[in-house]
């Protein structure tokens, strides 16, 4: 089982929910397919979706909801 890190290419604010009133995209332990959304990054008031690059199971989120992130920072780890 290989561990795969999901990173953001952009800096900004990371959100785990599509909007404040909705549930999170994914939780630890959830299965994801390649291309599934796992979060959003807000950059200059626009939202860019962050997708899983590969299929697997989410083992951890490395940042909290609403955390400020840098380019290249690891957002989540999946095992596939």
């Amino acid at each position: 089982m290989a561990k795969i890190e999901i990173r953001s290419q952009l800096p900004g604010v990371f959100y785990r929910k599509p909007s404040p009133d909705e549930p999170t995209f994914k939780e630890v332990g959830d299965t994801v397919k390649a291309g599934d959304a796992i979060g959003l990054v807000e950059v200059m008031k626009t939202f860019q979706q962050i997708n899983a690059d590969a299929a697997g199971i989410i083992v951890s989120f490395e940042v909290e909801d609403s955390d400020v992130i840098s380019p290249g920072q690891v957002l989540a780890v999946i095992e596939g």
């Binding site: 952009l10 800096p11 900004g12 604010v13 909007s19 404040p20 009133d21 807000e42 950059v43 200059m44 008031k45 626009t46 609403s66 400020v68």
Partner: protein, 455 residues
Amino acid sequence: MSITKLLIANRGEIAVRIIRAANELGIKTVQVYSQADATSLAVEMADEFVEIGPASAAKSYLNVEAVLKAAKDTGADAVHPGYGFLAENAEFADAVEAAGMIFVGPTGQMIRSMGDKASARKVAESANVPTVPGSDGIIEDLDVAQELAASVGYPVMIKATAGGGGRGIRVAENAEELATLATQASAEAKAAFADGGLYLEKVIDNARHIEVQILGDGKNFVHCYERECSIQRRRQKVWEEAPSTALSEEVREKLCASAVALAAAVNYRGAGTVEYLYDETSDDFYFIEMNTRIQVEHPVTEAIVGIDLLAEMIKIAGGEHLSFSQDDIVVRGHAIEVRINAEDPANKFMPSLGIVGDMRSPGGPGVRFDHFLYQGYQISPFYDSLLGKLIIHADTREGAINRLTRAVKELKLGELKTTAPLFLLLADDPDVKAGAVHNNWLEQWLENNIGKLTQ
């Protein structure tokens, strides 16, 4: 009571603009800033600066308590809110006054009556200012909305009463779409402004966006003529100019007089903008909303009438009366403003982050560049993408367009991608040259000219 120390509750280019106005009036400045803005130009230029929280605007520039604390701690006697953030927050205006300071803008009560779209519409109707056919107030249920939409005719626009900056606006072509979109628009407005109220109005096809700058001291009210901001992308203004090419003298006088009537109806104090849709085919204009603050595009008006709107705002807030009458305000020449945004027009206007490189500012006759950039400045991802505004003034519109092209070519920001190349293409476009544009014109143009942008 005249102002001696002004706190600037904003950031970016407008903070720099306010500091400049204050300096010229001999007023000391206090700049508040988030942790992400510690190296900003406004902080560097202000007499004092106070950090008010982390990068997120909700925890810094929108944090009323932190802003008020900074004002008290530094002994500021006035607060300028700029645009966006707390500028149209009536509770903030009240809180500033309750703390014994001056809010540079209208009273909280005026913001309430004009800032809320449904209530502003009622004020407009009482002042005999034409409004777009639509709902008289907030729509409570879908059946009423559908009945009204059928009577004014589809398509209709649904707007959040607490909207602004084009958010919470949806267009429905028929009754089914109205049902779906009303729910979405309400949710979006609630998320952005904590108020989910909606109202509905008829869509005026191919309308132009024309707005009137007004000034009031609570007793006297004048207009500084109109600006046309029809060139928009996703309801965000991209290119603004004054005067409008579309108005006859007769319509211009009627339009501007209606804006003054509206200001007088609420005993308006400060600088404000009354926004209209203008239907060229019928010469009708319709009030859409009033912005109770300084606007991004105020410099085009400053250029044609020679009035420093920021200085006037601050003087009025300090208790002075307007020092000129309507007859003193004369239009000279033509002005155009283009927004230099950190977006890449060749790549779907994606946010472009980076460091300002080897910078060259445009200059020469009739050129003003309002911005907050310097070589080595790291563009922040946390706020909007506006980097600066290039404002051009010339004797004629044709002269202004030629000067704009020349000035855009002079602007260099290193590798940073901006909207600047878009304006070279627009300045050379036959429709733009002829002034034959409307609110949906640019979206269509972008679809047809994407090849030119990616070259």
